[in-house]
Symmetry: C2
Subunit: 119 residues, 2 copies
DNA sequence: CATACACTTGAACATCTGTTCAAATGATCG
DNA sequence: CGATCATTTGAACAGATGTTCAAGTGTATG
């Protein structure tokens, strides 16, 4: 019940420059890979070590690390060293919001490819 | 003022299945291409013809059509025929939200690649 | 110092994906 | 019907991208 709270009906999106659009696209592209997205989802849960992530999502340590590097560079996740381990967490609430919104969108309709729907 | 309204601090994101994650990733991947994202942005403005989009974003008719097909299949945009022309618009407010949230994220910090920031 | 653990890095490979060009479809008008 | 406009489609190509394997850091422990 409290899950789906007051949703502002979307900001006006003040005319992004082509450069801004490119930066945005970079972010979306990072979330656009299933493995990487699952890694991000694992990080949203809370600070998790690389090994824990790898096990959770069922990917090699190496691959997870590669992905984390990209996500870190884009500031989608942030890292914290603690002894031998490195813990990763979602950078801020925006990434959670973005994903939550997209979940809403997907949950909307079972996605069928039709030409028009104005009949 | 009314633009940035009450922002719920993000839904709990109720444990997505690997399948759901894949579907989500598909959506994000579509927004992850600069050309395609600019097309979506053009569609958010309001119902626009393919030709108008092509001119606005500076891409060939053919390419825009190819992209629109993918966006349509993912229900990110919806099409409406009107005479010879076909008008496209953003499917719903969710896509606007998603993009707006990502804008917020990018606007947050000028993105630098550091190992840790807990000092 | 040497060993072991946790993670990172680099190069190589196969695959996917955006783009282009040419041809085809659909719709309106004379 | 033939012509023309608006959009779509298919095949083909170059470049980007995810994945793997092997080797390289860095940190604690004995």
């Amino acid at each position: 019940m409290i899950a789906r709270m007051i949703r502002p009906v979307a900001n006006p999106l003040p005319a992004l420059s082509d450069d801004d659009a490119a930066r945005l696209a970079d972010m979306f592209r990072l979330l656009g890979d299933p493995s990487r997205l699952r890694i991000v989802l694992a990080c949203i849960a809370g600070p998790v070590s690389v090994g824990a992530i790898a096990e959770r999502v069922g990917l090699s340590l190496s691959l997870v690390s590669h992905h984390l590097r990209l996500l870190r560079a884009a500031r989608l996740v942030k890292a914290t060293r603690q002894g031998k381990q490195v813990f990763y967490a979602a950078a801020d609430d925006h990434v959670r919001c973005v994903i939550a919104d997209m979940v809403s969108h997907v949950g909307e309709g079972p996605e069928q490819d039709e030409r028009e729907e104005d009949d």
